[in-house]
Structures are given as C-alpha cells and as structure tokens.
Subunit: 140 residues, 3 copies
C-alpha cells in the first residue's frame, strides 16, 4: 500500500512534524502488522525519527548539524565546497541522516516510543517536498 504526502516547508532549515500524516497512511492501509517505510525523494531533506516534545532540542540538533557541515567553510580550514550551488552543506546533512526511515506497525498503528515523532528535516527550504510512504504487511 503506497501513499504520497505533499509538504510545503516554510523555513530554510527546520523539522516539520509529519507523524499524524504517516499515521493516517497506516490507518488507511488497513494493515494491522507490518512495517512502514518513509522515503524522501530529495537530496537536501531527510525523514527522521526524533524527540517530539521540546522544540529547543530541534534547534540544538540543527546547530550541531551546522557545526558538522557549516554553510560556509572558513578560517584555518582554508577549505571550500566544490559544489557551486551554495547548498553543499544541505546535501551533506541529508546524506548523514539518510533518505529513508523504517518504522513498525502494530494493531493498525505506528509503533512509536512515548517521546518519538516522525519529522521531515528540511535543509534547503522553503520548498515543496514529497514524502513517499509504503506499508508492507507482515504475512507471517
């Protein structure tokens, strides 16, 4: 069973909560037990499974990702990105987080810990994004 979400990101970088939309896909599928793969067909955004309560933590995560892959390299590094579109850092962050998340389905619902949510991490917005959701039944 396959579904497609259309997400409009309104920020340059940020996490967009898509837990409810993915949960809706699972419900519509009618699958009681199985897995749910969330795939992002873009190279500057990623699906992640993250803490769902403190917005400050999202700021922290973005800050650390910016330290790992800064928008502009400078100083002692004497280095620069070869990619000329100005969004090399966004591509690298997306590579680090990956293009898919595999979640579990039980009793017709996503299995998530109390503090877990599903997010689209946007690294080069604002943009129109597609998120592909596929639910595979556990045939047993």
């Amino acid at each position: 069973m396959k579904y497609e979400l259309e997400i409009q990101s309104n920020v340059q970088t940020g996490f967009i909560d898509i837990t409810q939309q993915v949960q809706d896909c699972v419900r519509k599928s009618g699958v009681q037990d199985g897995i749910c793969v969330v795939f992002v067909p873009h190279t500057t955004a990623s699906p992640i499974c993250n803490e769902n309560w403190d917005p400050g933590l999202q700021v922290d995560t973005l800050m650390i990702l910016d330290r790992v892959a800064p928008s502009r390299l400078s100083g002692a590094l004497a280095a620069h990105y070869r990619h000329s579109d100005g969004n090399a850092a966004a591509h690298i962050k997306a590579s680090l987080l990956g293009a898919s998340q595999t979640l579990l389905v039980e009793n017709g619902k996503l299995v998530l810990g109390t503090w877990q949510g599903v997010y689209l991490a946007e690294f080069d917005g604002p943009r129109h994004r597609r998120v592909l959701v596929r639910i595979i039944r556990d045939a047993e």
Copy 2:
C-alpha cells in the same frame, strides 16, 4: 513475526551487543528468507550495525560522537543547548544514528559480514531499554 528484547544498560554511554538476541528472534520466527527490522522506541539510544571484534573501536566511535555533539558546549562557540534536561547531546547522537536498522535473513539466519555485530548504542544510561524486532518473510 514480532519480538521484544528487554535490555538493561549499565553504562552512561556504550555499545551493548545484542547480536545473539536478534539472531534468536530470527530463529524463533522460522523465517528462512526475508528482512529483520530492529527498532528502538527511545530518543537517546540507537540500534547500530558495527565492528564486533575490537572494543577499542567502540571507545573511538563514542569519542568521535562526543566531538560532534559534546555533552557541554564551551568556549569560542558561545553557544549552549536549549534543551534543559542536560541530555541534548544524547538526543542528537541518537538522531544521527537513527531509530532502526534493517538487516537481511537467509537460510533462517541473520546475514552479517564476518566483522559485523548488532548493537544497542546507549547515550543516556544506565536505563531499562526496549528493542523491537520484526521479521518479514520474503514471499517471492
């Protein structure tokens, strides 16, 4: 086929080998060919597939993760974590490593390279942790 492992971590940060427990789940499932999804329903721990031989390498990996997301930010950065529970770095490490691993099953066993093991990476222990294992048969 679904299983749940109960893991008591005895360290603040470290890798706990769960290869045998996951292998046991696969055996119990009776599935000969398919995939095995290992999902961690927590936001400060992650499942990883890693080198299984040199404990020194685990220390190295934890050290690098600490450089990426230090417990306390300091000095020239003039930055701090907004998350107030003191475990922002643990959440960020778990986000970088992800909440699930998808493994392969062949001839009723996990397919792992000679040097690969399956671990629970604990970033905010000691804690009681749950690891969810689901095995999907390849129906062909």
Copy 3:
C-alpha cells in the same frame, strides 16, 4: 528475491555509483511494487542514497566526513584512536552512514528522485566489496 553485487573499489575513499546494478536487480526480480533493501556486509563501507550529478559534491561530503572522523587525530585534542589497524576513522564513518538503505519499488523500478543515485561509499579501499540486494514484494 535476492541478489549479490561484486564491486571492486579502486580508491581509498570515494563513492561508487551502483544505481544501475541495483535497478537491474529490481528488474530481474519481476517485483512491481515493494521495497528494496541494499545491505553492505562490511564495516568500513556503506550504501548511501545521494546526489547523482555533481562529482564535486562527493568530494565535499568526503571532506566533511574527514573533519568529523579524521584519519589521524592531532594537536589540542591530545587524543588518539585505540583501534590499532589505522582505519578507525573508516569504521566510524561507516557506522555514521549505516549498513543498509531501504528503497522503494514501483512499476517494476526503483523510485528515486531526479537527483538521487545509489552509491557504495568506500572508506578503506581499494578492496573487493559485496553488496547484498533483497527485494520484498508488497502483497497488499
């Protein structure tokens, strides 16, 4: 349906495009709708889903990964890797990127965004590498 690719990497570190080989596996499987898991049974290489157009971006990504886990630690860190084979950094990079990628199959083909390709990231070559591909049909 399962397949195995044999890849000879000719570089110490680099990305090897395996999109076409994985696409061929999907075609041979005859599966119209489902998922495709790409698993690398090694601990110093990873499968990744990345931008397929600008080779400069691959150089950028490798540079950032080298900043995160340098081959040799130095200076103020007064730190060193405990792993004695000289390839600790390669192991750590592979742990960060993971051992598997889960892709989607639709109409008998991999679903990839316009700019997405599938790569084997080699961190400790040149070597002979195996890439395992498994395609699971969506039974609906």
